[in-house]
Symmetry: C6
Subunit: 317 residues, 6 copies
């Protein structure tokens, strides 16, 4: 079982593309800062003891509370709201600030296996073992890890599906168990591995997984301000004016006919490319035509069960 099977290609940060993606994420500053700080402290835990000594002259008991939590963060919210984009890019900022490499491991869909008995357990255990091995090699003698690791599990609900469901398949349940074990072992050994789970079905995740999360971040569709920022970046270089950008932001917002606005990816993967295609090959993109095209596109419908999640599922803490 080689890395290709369990992970998508491992990304080494810093990396210019990740920097661009990170910068492009608008309105998520709190989440950005939190994830970066958490991961910095995983890479160099000495920073927190220094802080405690500096401000309190000794080590606060709260530091132990801090260190004992599993370094698990859940990014929850509708499709296309930037969860995965943030998860894939914040490590760049960590690398930049800590001046170490950060390796991003994205668990492959392959790790779900094909249903053979015991396979899912073996694959997930194997994936955790692999990231732990990667960390082990990098530690120097002073407790400071030579690099940080981010373990990204996208569409985590599929893997960490709630065992509450009566009809759950035995094999899946075993997979959840091995996932919990993997998280617990990283916590117990205090490894510099930030585990990020993205989901648009927070409620479908196993309670035992969720309660291990140090924080659950809620993601929403971009508001007007954020849509303007995204469109401005995406249409940079065209002759679209600021006023036209604003009109596009309005067109892609909520309206009388629908209660949901465009998602981030509706803007970047559907609207902007369609504008290009529409103009091609006759002439440049024009504001008037752009708004017309935007009107013809329907935003992605909200994920079923999303309402419930936003009602009580998330937590900023």
């Amino acid at each position: 079982m080689n890395p290709v099977d369990l992970f998508e290609q491992v990304v080494h940060l810093p990396d210019p593309k990740a920097q661009t993606d990170y910068d492009r994420l608008v309105g998520l500053d709190d989440y950005k800062e939190r994830l970066v700080k958490e991961t910095l402290l995983l890479v160099d835990p000495g920073l927190l003891t220094e802080w405690s000594r500096k401000h309190y002259r000794n080590l606060l008991p709260a530091l132990d509370y801090f260190a004992a939590r599993p370094p698990l963060f859940v990014l929850a919210g509708d499709v296309g709201t930037g969860k995965t984009a943030l998860a894939r890019s914040f490590g760049n900022e960590v690398a930049r600030r800590a001046k170490v490499q950060v390796h991003l491991y994205t668990m492959s869909l392959n790790a779900r296996g094909s249903g053979a008995v015991g396979e899912m357990t073996r694959l997930i255990s194997g994936a955790f073992r692999q990231v732990r091995d990667a960390v082990a090699k990098s530690r120097d003698g002073h407790g400071r890890a030579g690099r940080g690791i981010i373990l990204l599990i996208d569409e985590a609900d599929a893997l960490a599906q709630s065992r509450e469901a009566a009809q759950m398949h035995h094999e899946d349940r075993a997979g959840v168990n091995s996932l919990i074990r993997g998280v617990d072992e990283i916590a117990a050994e205090r490894l510099p591995i930030a585990i990020i789970m993205c989901t648009n079905r927070l409620d479908a995740m196993d309670p035992a997984v969720r309660r291990r999360a140090a924080a659950v971040f809620e993601f929403h569709r971009p508001n007007r301000q954020q849509r303007i920022a995204v469109l401005r970046a995406g249409l940079h270089g065209t002759n679209i004016t600021d006023r036209e950008i604003e009109a596009l932001a309005d067109t892609s917002g909520e309206s009388a006919e629908r209660s949901h606005s465009f998602t981030y990816s509706d803007l970047t993967q559907r609207l902007i490319p369609t504008l290009i295609l529409d103009a091609f090959p006759e002439g440049p993109v024009t504001g008037a035509r752009a708004i017309e095209v935007a009107k013809s596109i329907k935003p992605t419908p909200p994920f079923r069960g999303q309402r419930e999640a936003s009602a009580h599922g998330g937590s900023h803490g």
Copy 2:
């Protein structure tokens, strides 16, 4: 596993029959143009950079948004509304304009396998590998592919069934995963392969598949104008008058008793052949009798769950 197993016979375009079929599709000009342009740009990506240079003097950042999307297009709508006919024929127009061959690969129902563990994954991976191999052989030294490929997945909902369904079979879920992987790899390598998925159950498709779509096109039953065009073509050579054709179009439309009109295939596969059979062997087809026969035929009932799809599922973008 030879090609016969995973694909129906590969069609080489241009081809006169496809031309006829393409021309016969009435009222779908927007979709036609969009698919043709998208595929042209896949075959020759240089056209877009030329356009950008010409109109903006340099490369717009939006071009990168454009190129980074998976070249996946979903054709959604009721049975018999022309989805498959368009998917099978628009490549002809691409071939004609780009002056290259376009090969149409239609994934066989066989690719769904027979339920053996791991089989569906293996078959789907194999199918994707095959189309990628086909492209690899055709590239010339200047980034321009020697031919275009269209990968058509009909009744895609069966293959890309939503993994949300709690009772979903493990094997099927693995199949969806390998489908997503196949799409992502084509996007990552920017291969000139337009992936077309037809479905009459858009809502049943996995959200992770749908959100990868560059566009979702909605198909509807033909309106009066379109029915007239279809009937005129199909009854060409008989003595049916224009007025009679119009009467037939009315008879095959919505009525007091039913809220749905004839589908394209109700016209071409049921009404027209029945007129022939009815006249045979005694004499020619007459308008009066044709209308009588049309009245005796009930249109195909709308697909269950179609309403939901038309309410929020489609997007023109």
Copy 3:
């Protein structure tokens, strides 16, 4: 796998018993004529080109529409309404008119297999291969087949069960796929094989199967006129008078207590034999007693889900 396994005994038509059965079917003249004509044209496609040449001087494009359809006919309706009786006997009329042999292949329940992985697919594919082989041997040099083949699939819903059902067994789904493939191949090669599917659960049939049907015929319980004809034939030779026959027809119709009348088989397999048994051994069947016995028999309840089918399922075309 010998023929006995996949088909019930193959019937060679014409055959006096089939003639009797065919003649006994009352009030189904439209369906009879349509099926006979369709099959005649499959056996001898040249007749249609002759007709076109005669009446139009050349070949109508509509002829191609006609020939391209799958030669699939669905007979849908309540149990005991004559579907199977017609399917089993109309080939006799074809044989008589075309002066060729017609072989009736009735797919055995065995073809559904016992649930082993891949078995259903293998059995159905095998069954289709067998009828195609039978045709291949009979063609003469002028495109006229030496014999016609009718492939009858009774209780087709069980085999062509809709793949829409979420909980459908993988194995069954593979079976539907191979069934569709079988139909498509017969259409593609334009073989003189009329495929007849009988079902009392039209709605349970897979949409991909149904939309391939050249026509769907709806069957209903016999009306008063038809009941009289059936009873007259069945009680021929007894002393029951015409007036008594009419009274029996009334007794076996709808009534205040029930909204459904006797089916064809309620008349032939239950009422008539019970009259005989009731009279035996004491004396002959009498009208007064016959009506009394008829009153004591309840008609077969309509099949569940039948209502839905009659509301929108059928099509005469």
Copy 4:
């Protein structure tokens, strides 16, 4: 696979115990006579032709209707209403009248197998083969069978479960198919085997099985008259007076608190034994005490789904 496995011990009739049981069944004269006559005519089909010749001078076409039906009879109704008792005993009367042996084969629960793939099919096929072999050996040269066979399938719904149920196990469906095949082969070869299926879930039986039935008999709980007859027979020899018997019949009938009366077996297996036990060892059974005991016993609740069956399921024909 020896007989012990597929059948309970084969009973050879006539037999005094069966005679007693048959005589003890009160109020079922119509069903008794019908079953006896039907089986007599299976054993000696010549009787019917003699009858036709005698009363009509020639063979009525209706005779063929009669002989072509599968000799299948369904006994449907609530638990404890005498279905099985009649099925097990009427053969005695046949034997007595036809002066031949009648062998009663009761299919064992074993024939349902243990769920191994293909097992149920093999077991049921084997059971049918066994009864057919038994008949084959007994025929004399004049078409008159040397003995009659009754094949009793108790709790037939479990075996002939409706294949309509979406979630039905493939293995069970195969079992139903082999059951249908068994019935059809007996009909086709016109073997002197009366097939009796008992069920308290008529609606759960497969439509294809039910429509093959020559008749469906409905069984009900005993009415007052019948309860008196049963109690009189069962308490014969005690000093219970007729008036007390009537009071017991009233006590065991419907009442203000409940809408259902005692079943036959509530009377014979619960009430009467309890009266004995209650009296033992102190003294004889007394009427006053008997009524008190009867009041303390609750009748068996009606089988779930029974209502539906009595509303439209049964047919006397």
Copy 5:
């Protein structure tokens, strides 16, 4: 397969502990007497013929009704109402009165097997064979068995689960079948084996099992009188006064907040031990404190579906 696997340790009665348990059961005198008498007559069937001869001068036909029933008794009711306690102890009284040994076989949960195909059937058949062998060895020459056997199946619903449930596992169904066979064979051979099934889900038991029961006894939670008796026995030797015992009985009864009182085992396994523990080690149990403790304990909630059972399920007969 040794006895340890299929049965919990076999108990040989009489035994002082069983005597204590039997005596402690308050308010169940009818059930006690019935079970003891039934089992006495199984051990020595001659007693009943003696009785008949004595009181009627000859053998009543009702005796045959009595002897032909399966010796199966169902004890049904809520958890903790004394079903199992009675089932385990009444054999002591039988032993005492009949002056023979009575062996109590309690079927182990192991007999349910682990789900392997055919295992449950084999285990249950094996268990029945074992008790029958045990009886066979003990008979003397005069038809009087050397010992009685009680076969106790606790939580019988799990084993005798209704086969009505559509989704029932094939393996379980086979298990029910072998259970029915075991019961029928004991009845047919009239073995001195009383079969006792305890259940708190009478409705979940297979109808074919239930209708074989000679009697169904309903168990309820103890009323005030019974609670006093239980508490008096359990607190014997402490200084708790009769008035305090009565107060405890009130506290453990129904109340404004809840509609259900303490069960027998709430009293003996929760309340009384908790009183001891609460007093330990400081001093003796006091009435005031005992009532306080009792108030802090919630009775076991009624078993789901129990309501239904008490509405129509039970029968005293």
Copy 6:
């Protein structure tokens, strides 16, 4: 199968960390005392007889009631309410008071196996055998065990899932059976092993497991008093004032917008660490900012089905 597989690392008590955890649990004094006493009496059963002799001069019959119960305790309640923390730490107090070692065995998620037939049964049986072996080695000659054992089964509902659920997997059911057997054997041999099951789905636990519990303890979210105590301990050493702590306790309580307060772990694993992180690296934690942060955190939503549990599930006894 070595201990690592079936148990998480065995903890030997007393141990300073457990002492800290035990002391930190606020407001659970009744449960603490009860568990400690129960386990003390398991380790040294002679204490209870001494007590009885001292206060009553002889052995109360109630002592036998006490000793006969399975030493099983169920800790039920919402996530994060301290169940597991108490289960893991109370043994320390037992060790301290009894001056013996107490070994804490926590059953691993591994014991649930991977779904192979028979595996779960084997694993659970193995786990029970292991703790029993551990006890056997430690007994001295006077009935006093050399050490106590606590067997902790966390998320017990997953293992002791109610077999009532119709669709339960056979394998799971077998696992429940072996769990019950394990509990019963410990009770029968009166081993000094306290079995603790934690669950947040009391209703999902098998009734046969629940009714064996000597006590069920209900856990709730901390009230204001308890929140203050937790926060005071966790923020010890910072400059947060008592008044600020109280304000934090208010902020983390119920509010107009939500009906549930913070759980214990919301306070210790989310709130306190987030305060640290928020302050880091700029300066110390301040009260004003702490309250702001607390407001941004949402408490864990109550577990589904919890309402039902608190309505009737728990019992203090």
